[in-house]
């Protein structure tokens, strides 16, 4: 038991990979065994994460459950992991969404073994980013998460669809989407890599806690340039890498394709967790390392955030593909996260104004909560899109319509989840969006005002989506014969259940999670 408690984080981190290894040796034909093994294996990290949550000391500052082992001494990098409120929230989200996604993947029939192995590898990659307290480890896991997702989209993504490239060369849509995702993200992380290398070279360590102190204490010239210039360049290197991941307008163009072409569970994880990696990067690395630059460029960040909110909403509204609509809604929702971060950045670290500080905290709390919430609702929305796609094999909103009487339970769940996405008071989305807006208003008034426009259109596209699927004249095509729609089944309901529960609980009683988040925020800034 001691061993367990002493190495909780390492266990959470590596259990999925071990499970993947076990699955490697299972017979490829026994699909049922593989699926259930994967599912049960993914529940273990969740259980451990809950354990960590219960034992998490909300009154203490600093990182908890810290573990540090020597790893690559030649370049002064150690295997250093730990959690604070921020990362714990994300870990919980990840370990929750993974089993749910695996359960959602039970309809995959082709090469199930490879699929599950890749999925579990992906989980380790994501967890690693959240748990890392060493920059190099952070980067390692950041990159590790890319390749499984590339293959998941590539191999199990939607089979239809083609994209025409230059000179009339055609490419399958999922190939295009996965390659774009990979190259875009890698190109972004290139800047990150270079900046990390520079940090490593300068300080001969990659350890986050010590880097926090030393980086900020740096004065004078660096590599022949004044420190401020170098910091500004490194700041933008970090920002670009994370901005691509969040995604922030205008680096978002990979997202609609990737989300749309990915298999259902892939989209769930992509929207649910992977996007949060970028935001997490902002919170964990950008703000603590570059408070001055962040403050200087907060306006620019806010601008981009607002663009994401507004354009995301507009774009979403204009979609005829249900999945693409939800994809753009991710852009829209993540914009709020960035808005909160920008607001906090603007206030800066050592601001004396009490009111501004309060707003800053509220904004940040809101941002982090929005990360969690969006994870839940986006995963839910994508799953529901998947449910209808399984049955109708179309995502085109114009082909659907008036399905409510046919699938009332599904309809109910869809409406519920959509409302969460819309930000209906009483559900989780409202809490986080309200906090962000409340926090950002005193700090970045104009931007917040413009963001409201986006919020308006959020309502518009959500309602439009629901209307086109559920309401209006029923499309007779789905009413009878072989195309008759079947109701949502038990497995699918079980997939949605935890999400629905959490959405409701947080919407009504958010304190239990906000406490944890708040402590972390206070410590960080």
């Amino acid at each position: 038991m001691d061993f367990l408690l002493g190495h909780l984080l390492t266990l959470i981190l590596f259990f999925p990979i071990l499970a993947a290894l076990v699955i490697l040796f299972l017979p490829s034909d026994d699909v049922k065994v593989i699926r259930w093994t994967a599912l049960i294996a993914s529940i273990v990290p969740f259980a451990l994460a809950v354990l960590v949550w219960t034992r998490f000391d909300t009154s203490a500052t600093g990182f908890q459950f810290v573990e540090q082992y020597p790893w690559y001494e030649a370049i002064h990098s150690t295997f250093h992991v730990g959690v604070d409120g921020l990362s714990l929230t994300m870990v919980l989200l990840t370990t929750l969404l993974t089993p749910i996604s695996i359960l959602a993947s039970f309809t995959i029939k082709d090469r199930v073994k490879a699929y599950m192995i890749l999925f579990l590898m992906l989980e380790t990659g994501m967890l690693g980013v959240f748990l890392a307290l060493d920059l190099l480890i952070f980067f390692v896991f950041w990159e590790i998460g890319l390749v499984p997702m590339y293959f998941l989209i590539n191999q199990w993504g939607s089979e239809k669809g083609e994209r025409t490239l230059w000179k009339g060369v055609k490419m399958q849509a999922r190939n295009y989407a996965s390659l774009k995702f990979l190259i875009y993200t890698m190109a972004g992380s290139l800047g990150l890599l270079l900046a990390i290398q520079m940090l490593g070279v300068l300080f001969q360590t990659y350890d986050l806690p010590s880097l926090y102190e030393r980086w900020n204490a740096l004065q004078g010239t660096l590599l022949g340039l004044p420190v401020t210039t170098v910091k500004a360049i490194a700041f933008w290197a970090f920002v670009v890498a994370f901005a691509i991941k969040v995604p922030v307008w205008p680096f978002h163009t990979w997202l609609p394709d990737a989300h749309t072409e990915a298999p259902t569970a892939g989209s769930m994880i992509l929207a649910g967790v992977l996007l949060k990696l970028g935001a997490y990067g902002f919170l964990r690395l950008v703000l603590p390392f570059y408070p001055a630059e962040a403050q200087r460029f907060a306006g620019a960040l806010a601008f981009l955030a607002v663009m994401a909110i507004v354009f995301g909403a507009f774009a979403s509204y204009g979609q005829t593909d249900f999945k693409r609509l939800v994809a753009y809604s991710s852009v829209n929702h993540m914009g709020f996260v960035l808005l909160g971060i920008a607001a906090a950045a603007k206030v800066g670290l050592n601001n004396q104004d009490v009111a501004l500080n309060l707003s800053k905290n509220i904004a940040l709390n809101g941002a982090v909560l929005q990360m969690f919430n969006h994870g839940l609702s986006a995963a839910g929305m994508f799953f529901l899109v998947g449910v209808i796609y399984e049955r109708t094999h179309t995502r085109n909103l114009n082909d659907l319509g008036g399905l409510f009487p046919l699938v009332p339970v599904y309809g109910g769940i869809l409406i519920f989840t959509s409302m969460a996405s819309l930000g209906l008071p009483g559900l989780n989305g409202f809490i986080s969006e309200f906090m962000v807006v409340r926090g950002a208003w005193p700090i970045l008034s104009v931007y917040t005002a413009i963001a409201m426009l986006g919020l308006l259109f959020t309502g518009a596209y959500i309602l439009k989506g629901i209307k086109q699927v559920l309401h209006g004249p029923m499309n007779e095509h789905w009413a009878q014969g072989e195309h008759r729609l079947t109701e949502i089944n038990t497995r699918e309901i079980i997939v949605m259940a935890p999400l629905i529960a959490l959405i409701l609980v947080i919407g009504v009683y958010p304190a239990w999670i906000l406490e944890v988040i708040n402590k972390a925020i206070l410590m960080l800034f």
């Binding site: 690559y72 030649a74 370049i75 190099l136 990159e143 390749v147 990979l182 890698m186 270079l194 290398q197």
Partner: protein, 490 residues
């Protein structure tokens, strides 16, 4: 009297070659088994040497010295240090997997394995030679078997041309170095070829300035430095699979290593003077190699140019003249060696079945050859420098080293990483995934157990190193320590 393990490692392949030559050429299976036994033996010995090397003490270990010709100061002086121990291991690994992969060679396997082993002996000899004359001796032994191996068993279309080009290029490179080495011998006044003694000979700066390029670039030709890299892609492509594995996996490291041992370690001041030029050329290697690889349509040419690009990283690491950059270079030699052996093995397996390497004509190979696909993907990830695999472990310190010297170069070189990702992923997708062209349906047989063992073995090495870099970097660091002392001296 300590067991002369290093002599045994060097002469085992040679002895095996002689033995194999005596077997009747009809008895092919016996030939193969003998070859495998010898290769396994060499592998075990090299593992032994690697893991019993004492990193805490560092320096040269397992020393053996036999006076060969006292009149001119030539001795058979053998020893390994932290830099050469991984390379000895690499040779053992590639030899072992190379024999496994060559199991299917049906045309005169006797001569094939005999020549391959003579090559292996030469390679081992260079890595562990501490006498300059003997280093050349073994270096040259490693040149001519390549000619025969490529010309006889290579790809029919270009083998004669490629073999001759390769041989001439390498021979020219080596004799250029030879001139430099002989001049060094006389100028030192020590009347010995012993490198440990020559390390201490303080050559005048002007002398080093003139002769360092001869020695360094002569050897670096084999390392594939721009603009003398031209022999490499053609040579890689024309050679039969095991020979390509050896060629890119080990031989190019021979060049880089010899450039290090003879050039940088014996003429450190000259090295420091010329380092910027080397850095510039290596940068061209890295970026240019990557770009050219991107436009290739022949599967094997992609790997060939990718090798040019990755060897550029090794040279780059050397040129930084920093401990961390050198460490990275040492690691990269091993990591790239294993990775490229894997690549060529995989490519060979596809080619043997599809009889074409033209990417537009291939596709869907993952179904009949799943292990090959996975192995190639892992190799590809290593090549991109994906963290968690050995490539990252090697490339990262090199970049850190470059940062310490000239940050802008690091930024430019990093671009190659993205290019590499692009061409590797595209090649993977086109060859292994997608639809299989109709003409291959049913013609792609599975790979044999020897092939599987080889692939898995190589993958395990790359993954282990990536996850546990401590399996190799302490050795390389010990070697670099000694190197830095030589460089740091006045």
């Amino acid at each position: 009297m300590q067991f002369p393990i290093l002599s045994v490692i060097v002469f085992t392949p040679m002895a095996a070659a002689l033995l194999i030559l005596l077997i009747n050429s009809e008895r092919k299976n016996e030939i193969r088994v003998t070859a495998l036994a010898a290769a396994t033996f060499a592998l075990i010995l090299s593992l032994w040497v690697y893991f019993t090397y004492d990193k805490a003490i560092g320096g040269y270990q397992f020393l053996e010295k036999y006076n060969w010709m006292p009149m001119l100061g030539i001795s058979l002086h053998l020893g390994v240090d932290g830099m050469s121990a991984p390379l000895v291991l690499l040779t053992g690994v590639v030899m072992f997997t190379g024999v496994l992969i060559s199991w299917g060679i049906d045309d005169r396997p006797r001569e094939f394995f005999a020549f391959l082993f003579i090559l292996a002996s030469g390679v081992f000899g260079v890595f562990i030679s501490l006498d300059l004359f003997m280093l050349f001796f073994f270096y040259e032994i490693a040149v001519f078997p390549m000619y025969l191996l490529i010309a006889i068993w290579g790809w029919v279309k270009t083998r004669e041309y490629a073999a001759m080009k390769l041989t001439l290029y390498l021979f020219i490179g080596s004799v250029v170095s030879l001139v430099g080495a002989l001049v060094m011998y006389w100028t030192s006044g020590l009347h010995t070829f012993d490198m440990l003694a020559l390390e201490k000979a303080a050559f005048p700066l002007a002398f080093q300035k003139i002769w360092f390029p001869f020695v360094f670039f002569g050897f670096a030709v084999l390392g594939g430095i721009f603009p003398f890299h031209n022999w490499s892609p053609d040579g890689h492509v024309a050679a039969p699979t095991a020979v390509s594995m050896f060629h890119a996996g080990v031989l190019m490291k021979l060049g880089a290593f010899a450039a290090l041992r003879v050039g940088i370690m014996l003429l450190p001041e000259g090295a420091k003077l010329w380092a910027p030029l080397i850095m510039g050329l290596a940068l061209v290697n890295i970026v240019y190699g990557a770009f050219i690889a991107m436009v290739q349509t022949d599967f094997k040419y992609i790997i060939g140019f990718s090798s040019v690009s990755h060897m550029g990283l090794v040279m780059m690491g050397f040129s930084t003249m920093t401990p961390i950059g050198m460490t990275g270079a040492g690691l990269q030699m091993f990591s790239h060696g294993v990775m490229t052996a894997l690549f060529f093995a995989a490519v060979g397996m596809v080619y043997d079945r599809a009889h074409t390497r033209d990417i537009p004509k291939l596709g869907g190979m993952v179904k009949p050859l799943p292990l090959v696909a996975i192995a190639f993907i892992i190799g590809g990830l290593v090549s991109m420098g994906m963290p968690g695999l050995s490539g990252f472990m090697a490339e990262f310190p090199i970049f850190m080293g470059i940062w310490q010297v000239r940050p802008i170069v690091a930024i430019i070189a990093a671009v190659s990483i993205v290019i590499t990702a692009a061409y590797i992923m595209l090649a993977i997708r086109r060859v292994f995934f997608g639809a299989m062209p109709v003409e291959f349906e049913g013609h792609i047989g599975p790979i044999g157990v020897q092939d599987k063992v080889a692939l898995v073995f190589l993958c395990i090495i790359m993954i282990s190193l990536g996850v546990f870099p401590s399996l190799m970097f302490p050795w390389v660091q010990a070697g670099v320590q000694h190197l830095m002392i030589l460089l740091g001296g006045a």
